[in-house]
């Protein structure tokens, strides 16, 4: 799998690059800012781009805008957006404008090769990857406890995995459940939260995240 890297912090970039190479990935290029990244993409298209949301010149949401642009311009390239802190609204915006094959992870998450590989593979399969911390933070607030209390323990677990962008298959595997059971849980959840069921994977993530954000 060919990976392009973009981060203004050379130290992190090097560390990540080494990890990827050691794990059998190809690092197609490294870029220090968005311009370098876009130029590199013109020359050679990788399978996925890992980029920091926080990049020069203004260190605002350059990375997020670049991610959306890449998804538009090169639909075959998956984008994994990294950040040192998490904002659910960034995840939602990424899903809304970037569609599928997008991921939003806490930066430290990718220092672990297992999590990094898992994320890249899921992206490669056309799934969505949302950091579990985003979901956990949204669920941690007391304010939607009432509604969420109506969910069973199992349904709650399914909800979390769903919000992270896991597919039904992945949920079956993770929770050691059958296909039918998972489908029942999901339809129950959507009913209890009064959400319309979504056919697309990433639309489903978006619906759940949006629900959790605004409730």
């Amino acid at each position: 799998m060919q990976i392009g890297l973009a981060d203004d912090a050379a130290l992190f970039r090097e560390g990540l690059s080494r990890l990827l190479v050691e794990s059998g990935f190809d690092v197609a290029f490294q870029a220090g800012d968005v311009d370098e990244l876009m130029a590199a993409l013109e020359a050679r298209l990788p399978d996925a781009v890992i980029l920091d949301i926080h990049m020069p010149p203004t260190y605002s949401n350059e990375g997020l805008l670049a991610a959306v642009q890449i998804r538009e311009q090169y639909p075959g390239v998956a984008v994994l957006l990294l950040s040192q802190y998490l904002e659910a609204q960034y995840a939602v915006r990424l899903l809304e404008t970037g569609g599928d094959m997008v991921g939003y992870l806490l930066k430290e998450r990718v220092t672990d090769i297992d999590q990094l590989r898992d994320a890249l593979q899921r992206l490669g399969h056309g799934s969505t990857v949302i950091d579990p911390q985003v979901v956990a933070d949204l669920l941690r607030r007391r304010r939607n406890a009432d509604t969420l209390m109506t969910l069973t323990e199992r349904e709650r677990e399914v909800l979390e995995l769903m919000a992270e962008g896991r597919s039904n298959k992945a949920i079956e595997k993770t929770l050691f459940l059958g296909q039918k059971t998972v489908e029942t849980h999901i339809s129950n959840i959507f009913q209890k939260l009064e959400l319309a069921s979504e056919p697309d994977d990433h639309r489903r993530v978006l619906a759940v995240l949006s629900y959790l954000r605004t409730t």
Binding site: F12, H54, Q84, E108
Partner: protein, 603 residues
């Protein structure tokens, strides 16, 4: 702050004559201004019944009016000669009347001579009064000349007249013999009498002319004193000339008409003099008004106008002492030299603890009423001091506000720098460390379970360190505020809030860093309070721009009753908002929720 002005202000404004002093004065009034004219009248009527009561009564009233006016003026202006001079004139008038009720006894010759000499004393004294009015001093060389020349001429003429035959022999058929009269040629005596009358008219014309001249060149304040005198001298002059003309032109009974109205005219002069002298005194109530007006007027030009009004002197100028330049500054802020307190200008210094704080320059005539000027000066001093203190306070306040703004800006900058340092420094190093550790972990393999456990512990610690650092950085200054501005930052706050938050309005544009930071922290603190104390189910946030201000409103449907200084969080917010010259308002009626509104001036 404690003010000590030495003399209490009300004492200066109120009449400073005690009741103890009032009784002797009333006694003097009765004795001098009522008893003496009454005695004159009674003896007149008794001794000369043929004349009838009308003329003696009129003459007594005239004499009494001069005595009365002299007493009042003397009391009101103890340092002014006008009062005593008028008293002398009044006594002289009363004395002249003795010649009209002379009993016919030849042994009264001495007394009669005295009486004859008293006539010119009245005229000379009144001439001096009019020439030196209202100060009692002859201000110019001409006045000084006239003040000496007129009485001297009258004295010499009257003595000469007495020596050549005296007026008794000419005009008075029943008069007694004059002691000093040489009884020369009656024709010569008549000629001398007419010459004296002519010179008297010339002298009177000189005095009146001089009065008119002085009036036309007088300051507004001077005219205020001279006006009543001019209006009373005018009729006297007209009537006097008319009487003389009547004597010459009309047969005897007709000029009695002029005699009938002349008493009124003669009474008008002392009245005019007293009014002219006391007009400033009548305005003493104005000082009370001044104090009240000064209370709600701070601007120096308004203060000057008020002073000018109360002192009836449009030329009043208020100078302020500048401690920096050690000089006086006028209302335009220009340094000016203090004029000398002299004939051209009067100067009253305003001092506090022996240090000058200002000065009033005014018409020199005001010196005649030092009490009034002192009272006005005290009031003005109070106002000037107030204004200076207010200005000082204003300046200090501005300095404090500026320094508060600097502190908040500096702390904002510091927060931003700290946040950036954490991001670029510690967080990057920990991530690099994480990579390195994972690499070592892989190389060490899965052999020794102890090593694996140690790695897991280290990994967990690293994860916690990163997380704590992340939260620290967020608390110092949320990156989303720097990156995305208020809109995304408010959404982030709403999302993290324990209470459901609806964002009603949010600005689309960016604002200056301190304004965004203040707005953010206001909402953040308010939402934290809502979650902690309000027992609310919903909070509503609205942030919008209106009339050069960013308005930040946070409402909830909770229990209300929040105190404005409930906890240090709100206090800190007030500092932050205040540093931007903004306002923070908390409206929290019990049972009706809480509404917090911050107004942040912005561009």
């Amino acid at each position: 702050m404690h003010h000590d002005f030495g003399v209490p202000l009300p004492a200066l404004i109120a009449h400073n004559h005690s009741t103890a002093m009032r009784k002797p004065f009333i006694l003097a009034l009765v004795v001098v201004a009522v008893c003496i004219p009454a005695m004159t009248f009674v003896s007149f009527v008794l001794n000369a019944p043929a004349v009838g009561p009308a003329i003696p009564l009129a003459r007594s009233v005239i004499g009494g009016s001069y005595l009365l006016a002299g007493l009042v003026a003397w009391r009101a202006r103890p340092n002014n000669r006008i009062g005593p001079l008028m008293l002398i004139a009044g006594f002289a008038w009363e004395l002249t009347d003795f010649n009209l009720f002379y009993s016919g006894d030849p042994t009264d010759g001495f007394f009669f001579t005295l009486v004859v000499l008293a006539g010119p004393v009245f005229i000379a004294t009144m001439a001096v009064v009019v020439l030196t009015f209202p100060t009692g001093r002859a201000e110019t060389a001409i006045d000084r000349l006239l003040v000496v020349a007129i009485p001297m001429t009258l004295l010499v003429l009257q003595t000469a007249l007495a020596l050549v035959g005296g007026p008794g022999q000419v005009d008075c058929k029943t008069c007694p013999p004059d002691l000093v009269a040489a009884r020369l040629d009656p024709g010569l005596a008549l000629l001398a009498t007419r010459a004296v009358q002519l010179i008297t008219v010339i002298g009177a014309a000189a005095v009146v002319g001089r009065l008119g001249w002085r009036w036309s060149s007088a300051s507004a304040l001077g005219r205020r004193s001279l006006d009543p005198v001019v209006w009373s001298i005018g009729p006297i002059f007209v009537v006097g000339v008319s009487i003389r003309a009547g004597e010459l032109l009309l047969p005897y009974p007709h000029h009695q008409l002029f005699f009938a109205i002349s008493p009124l005219v003669f009474v008008a002069l002392p009245l005019g003099l007293v009014i002219g002298l006391l007009r400033t005194r009548l305005d003493r109530t104005g000082v009370g008004r001044l104090v009240v007006e000064l209370g709600d007027r701070g601007r120096p030009d308004e203060l000057r106008d008020t002073l000018a009004k109360v002192l009836h002197d449009p030329s009043v100028e208020l100078l302020e002492w500048s401690a920096q330049t050690k000089g006086f500054v006028n209302s335009e802020g220009q340094m000016i030299a203090l004029p000398a307190d002299g004939i051209d200008r009067g100067v009253t210094l305003l001092e506090r603890d022996g240090q000058p704080i200002g000065a009033i320059t005014h018409d020199p005539l005001l010196r005649d009423d030092p009490d009034l000027v002192r009272a006005v000066a005290s009031a003005a001093q109070l106002a000037v001091e107030n204004a200076q203190l207010a200005a000082e306070l204003q300046q200090q306040l501005a300095e404090v506000e500026a320094s508060r703004a600097r502190i908040v800006t500096a702390s904002d900058d510091e927060r931003r720098r700290l946040g950036r340092d954490l991001h670029d420094g510690a967080q990057q190093r920990l991530l690099a460390l994480s990579f390195a550790m994972k690499a070592v972990q892989r190389k060490a393999g899965n052999g020794d379970p102890d090593i694996r456990a140690a790695f897991d512990t280290a990994d967990e610690q690293l994860r916690l360190a990163l997380r704590e650092l992340r939260e620290l950085a967020h608390g110092i200054r949320p990156p989303i505020l720097t990156e995305g501005g208020l809109g995304p930052a408010l959404e982030s706050l709403a999302e993290r809030s324990a209470v459901k938050v609806t964002i009603e309005r949010q600005p689309q544009r960016r604002f200056e860093q301190p304004v965004e930071a203040a707005a953010y922290f206001v909402v953040s603190e308010a939402l934290a309070n809502v979650a902690k104390h309000a027992g609310a189910s919903l909070a509503t946030v609205a942030v919008w721009q209106e009339d050069g201000a960013l308005l930040v409103e946070v409402r909830d449907d909770g229990v209300g009753g929040a105190a404005a200084v409930n906890g240090s969080g709100l206090r800190g917010l007030m500092d932050r908002v205040g540093a931007l010259q903004g306002r923070l308002q908390v409206d929290s009626p019990p049972g009706k929720g809480t509404r917090l509104l911050a107004e942040l001036p912005c561009r």
